[in-house]
């Protein structure tokens, strides 16, 4: 009898007798006998002690970012997470509760989701938010589908400065409903190692376009030039979709202020460790008039029979359990606990704390850039305003630079040659508030010695 089943043999016999059978096998007579009870090729179960020892050892074979200088971002960012968050989300009442289908016994989760929606709206400047999607990548796919449904068009433009992983997920999501995704160049790699930017997309924007997807700041760390973009799109009935970074929203204006119709964001990094990239949590917000096409769950406030305020899952007529094949999406279970962590993070930081996190990240990254620009052979490839991530051009391939850094105990940056052979010498570096100056100085020293 394994540790998680409490039934004793005597109880089992009593239960079988109450059912009116004499063996458990009799309960399985509907199963084809020749396949019943397969001889699984799996080892015997481990005790708790063995499990702990095995997995602790395995975890120690990984290189823990907290123990090594690291400058890798490229979509996944390490921020400081106040201790209160882990403690609060580990409470059994949050951790082990079900989706809040029965509101009278789920007001805790429901109010927390309402607060998440409020915070996502506050950060992005949008009217409404849902309860979360899986991550920013799938959120991008959902946003494209939603824009196509809203405009009854099938053509989606996405800038090539959007995180390549999000673009890959978008391509997968678009393949089913035959959405035509067109990647629009937004930067150029010049032979001298500098980068150029493209800001005029007017030749691409016409009345066949459902939406244009941009990322702010973009994958290269730059701020896209957003002025006029939403006007150009709305003049042909198309929607501006912005993938926003929640930390940068502490210091730059929100997408709602420059005409975004749908906003997606990755909420994981502001609430938990990087976790090898999962679980994540997608922020998903939009304009009020788009609500009926929104994917995912939404919580609303209402009252009970005595006028007492309470919260419920609402607007469910968009969802799969009611609308089946006509639903806006199939999404149901998403990332509630991670959304809760992020909600608590923003409550803990408040406006001043978030601005500090953004500003320190920016200051440290700019310090790193100024140091690197003095190292012979390296140039900072910034042709636009940027915040806490930037590409540099290295004297040798970025892959070799990263290998040398790793040999020196440093996790380097992201080798942009993996995305574009023209960028083989480009390394994308990032700093956040957790990057100490000593790590930055060490990186610069090692780069100079290569």
């Amino acid at each position: 009898m394994s540790g998680f089943i409490s039934t004793t043999p005597a109880e089992r016999d009593a239960m079988l007798s109450r059912i009116g059978v004499s063996t458990i096998d009799q309960l399985f007579e509907d199963l084809p006998a020749e396949h019943y009870r397969p001889d699984l090729d799996l080892p015997p179960g481990l005790s708790e002690l063995e499990t702990w020892q095995l997995l602790r050892k395995l975890s120690e074979t990984n290189l823990d970012l907290e123990r090594h200088p690291n400058f890798l971002g490229a979509g996944a960012y390490r921020h400081f997470v106040p201790a209160a968050i882990g403690h609060l989300i580990s409470r059994g009442e949050f951790l082990t509760s079900y989706t809040p289908y029965q509101p009278e016994v789920s007001q805790g989760t429901l109010q927390a989701v309402y607060e998440w929606q409020s915070i996502v709206c506050a950060l992005t400047g949008m009217d409404i938010s849902n309860a979360s999607v899986y991550d920013a990548g799938t959120g991008t796919g959902e946003a494209a589908r939603m824009a196509c449904a809203l405009t009854r068009r099938r053509r989606v433009l996405v800038l090539d400065t959007v995180n390549p992983r999000y673009r890959e997920v978008l391509a997968t999501y678009a393949s089913g409903p035959d959405i035509d995704v067109e990647t629009v160049p937004a930067f150029t790699a010049r032979p001298d190692g500098t980068l150029g930017r493209v800001t005029d997309f007017s030749s691409k924007i016409d009345s066949s376009v459902a939406c244009m997807i941009i990322q702010q700041p973009n994958f290269l760390g730059w701020m896209e030039q957003v002025e006029g973009l939403s006007d150009a799109l709305s003049s042909v009935g198309a929607i501006l979709v912005v993938i926003a970074d929640p930390v940068s929203l502490g210091v730059i204006r929100p997408p709602g202020a420059y005409g975004a119709g749908i906003v997606v964001g990755e909420g994981k990094w502001t609430g938990g460790p990087v976790d090898f990239g999962g679980p994540l949590v997608g922020m998903f917000a939009c304009r009020k008039d788009f609500v009926r096409q929104m994917p995912g769950r939404i919580v609303g406030s209402t009252i009970d029979g005595d006028g007492r305020k309470g919260y419920v899952l609402t607007l469910a007529t968009r969802e799969q359990h009611i609308r089946r094949e006509k639903a806006t999406s199939n999404i149901c279970t998403a990332e509630a606990l991670i959304a809760l962590a992020t909600t608590i993070y923003f409550c803990h930081l408040g406006p001043v704390g978030l601005r500090e996190v953004a500003e320190q990240s920016i200051q440290k990254a700019h310090y790193l850039a100024s140091r690197i620009s003095q190292v012979p052979g390296y140039t900072v490839q910034s042709t636009a305003p940027w915040l806490y991530e930037f590409p540099i051009h290295c004297p040798k391939p970025a892959a070799q630079v990263n290998e040398a850094l790793l040999a020196a105990g440093i996790i380097g940056g992201y080798d942009l040659g993996l995305e574009d052979p023209a960028l083989a010498h480009s390394l994308l570096l990032c700093c956040t508030e957790v990057t100490p100056r000593s790590d930055i100085d060490r990186l610069v020293d090692v780069l100079g010695s290569l």
């Binding site: 975890s59 199939n330 809760l340």
Partner: protein
């Protein structure tokens, strides 16, 4: 009625109300907790960062003037404010750690604590998803390990843990079906789905560009209508999506024949793994002819549900579909090291930004290691034993939608209570007053007034005895004092909420009061 009168009415009539755990959600009506924004005090804050250790540049030199943000309307709170607020919210929740969840089709089992400790190991948590593979061999060992575990448990050799939820696994699977047909130059248009299926099945088919065709069910056996299936199956069908056991908690006895007929016309068989808990260690869907199956790791393999995720929706497929799995896959080289295989030309592509819900997958990996071969056999066996025991306890007081030995769950028929003016919703809400989260209700859609109960293997005999007594007590109340049942719940912080108002006058976020 006032709160006190409600409570009086609740206890009236000999109902042995059992706020079992002394939990505050069963202590009667309570004042609402203010929205966190309303607790904000200007200038208050929690925590601080170290002083900046690099030379400071004027931000105006970095961010163009028009792009600076001026107002940031987040709440301002102390850490104690934050901790109290969310602790208080947590106390308005029902959860598996203090109570029993008889939720059919949701498999709310106990989540072992060791898995939380494993998932908290810094060597797993502080890993960047794009770190060099040589520095994450332990994490890749876990991903490769669970691929092998799930392949063995399901009998389907190709596994990806990139999908992060059941519906996400479904979408991944049906997109793979689409890619496989396209690869052979076939553009099929239809997906067959039984009328008992979860709503995600038709929603998924639509997302993948397919038309859903509904197959009926046999009212006597509770299984799919085999003749209807045969008449609708043709070479325009890309897949048939079957839930096994089905949502009435019954095994589809003709599953092998269904698979054979589907395969004869080149149609794939997708198995919705939401109910896999019944089958673990008892039978492998792959051995029956199923081509694809998703595994809800948060149901079957004990990832805590978190109030709605994170979960895991691993997709498991037959060898013929392996080339279409999401890229990259974790593979093991001959020297024992692990790597990503991204060079998969037939892959449907990426379905998640990185490698799925790694930290959730890690919990399932640890759980399966602990169960081992014997434990997995006991899992399914006890899940089915418990469901049938519960069913036997209720047999004298309730009717079943289909009266047969069940698998891991069963469906009660709420219609007999209509003559007392009682609906299934009323029974569900009254159960709350007795200290229990209601079962799944009004699902499957084919069973009117359905009450669907799944105890899971981790619940004890006395828990099931107590729950059955409570449900029988509610049935008696429904017959004797229906008004108490119709107005339930009486013991919760709020009463039944006005869902029509919520939808007609949407209030979906906090708004600053107009001053």
């Amino acid at each position: 009625m006032t709160t006190t009168e409600h409570a009086d009415a609740a206890v009236h009539d000999g109902a042995s109300l059992r706020p079992s755990s002394g939990h505050s959600i069963f202590a009667g009506r309570q004042e609402g907790i203010p929205v966190v924004f309303d607790k904000s005090v200007k200038g208050r804050r929690a925590g601080k960062l170290p002083a900046l250790d690099v030379p400071e540049i004027d931000l105006d030199e970095i961010i163009p003037q028009g792009e600076r943000r001026h107002a940031l309307p987040l709440p301002e709170l102390s850490e104690l404010d934050v901790v109290r607020h969310f602790t208080r919210l947590s106390k308005r929740n029902y959860s598996i750690e203090s109570e029993f969840y008889p939720l059919g089709s949701c498999t709310m089992k106990y989540n072992p604590k060791i898995d939380e400790n494993v998932a908290a190991l810094p060597g797993f948590r502080n890993l960047h998803p794009l770190q060099p593979v040589a520095t994450v061999q332990g994490a890749l060992h876990v991903l490769h390990g669970i691929q092998s575990q799930l392949a063995e448990i399901t009998g389907l050799p190709g596994v990806s843990t990139q999908p992060v939820a059941g519906a996400h696994g479904e979408l991944t699977g049906i997109l793979m079906v689409r890619a496989a047909h396209l690869k052979q130059g076939r553009m099929r248009r239809k997906v067959l789905i039984p009328d008992s299926a979860h709503g995600t099945n038709p929603a998924t088919a639509a997302m993948a560009g397919y038309e859903s065709i509904t197959i009926g069910h046999d009212r006597v056996t509770g299984e799919l209508d085999f003749e209807d299936f045969k008449s609708k199956l043709d070479d325009d069908c890309a897949a048939v999506m079957i839930t096994l056991p089905n949502t009435l908690g019954l095994f589809e006895r003709r599953i092998e024949e269904i698979c054979r007929l589907a395969h004869e016309v080149g149609c794939f068989v997708y198995c919705d793994g939401a109910n896999l808990n019944a089958l673990v260690g008892q039978i492998r869907p792959g051995d029956l002819g199923v081509d694809l199956l998703h595994v809800n790791l948060h149901k079957t393999f004990a990832v805590p549900h978190g109030g709605g995720g994170p979960g895991g929706g691993a997709i498991c497929v037959a060898a013929s579909l392996e080339p279409f799995l999401p890229a990259p896959l974790v593979v093991q080289a001959t020297d024992g090291s692990y790597a990503y295989d991204a060079d998969r030309p037939d892959s449907i592509g990426r379905v998640h930004s990185y490698q799925g819900n790694f930290n959730a997958v890690l919990r399932s990996y640890a759980y399966i290691l602990q169960l081992g071969k014997e434990g997995l056999g006991e899992l399914g066996a006890n899940a089915v034993l418990n469901a049938n025991y519960m069913r036997a306890l209720l047999a004298d007081d309730f009717t079943f939608y289909v009266d047969r030995i069940c698998m891991h769950e069963f469906v009660l028929d709420g219609r007999p209570f209509k003559e007392f003016g009682i609906r299934t919703l009323d029974i569900a809400k009254r159960l709350i007053d007795h200290g229990y989260h209601p079962p799944t209700i009004y699902f499957p859609l084919i069973a009117p007034e359905a009450i669907m109960i799944e105890p899971t293997e981790t619940e004890s005999k006395e828990t099931m005895d107590a729950f059955a007594s409570a449900l029988i007590a509610v049935a008696n109340e429904a017959r004797s004092t229906p008004s108490v049942v119709q107005n339930a719940p009486h013991m919760t912080p709020v009463g039944r909420l006005d869902e029509v108002r919520a939808a007609r006058q949407p209030d979906l976020r906090w708004q600053a009061p107009v001053s």
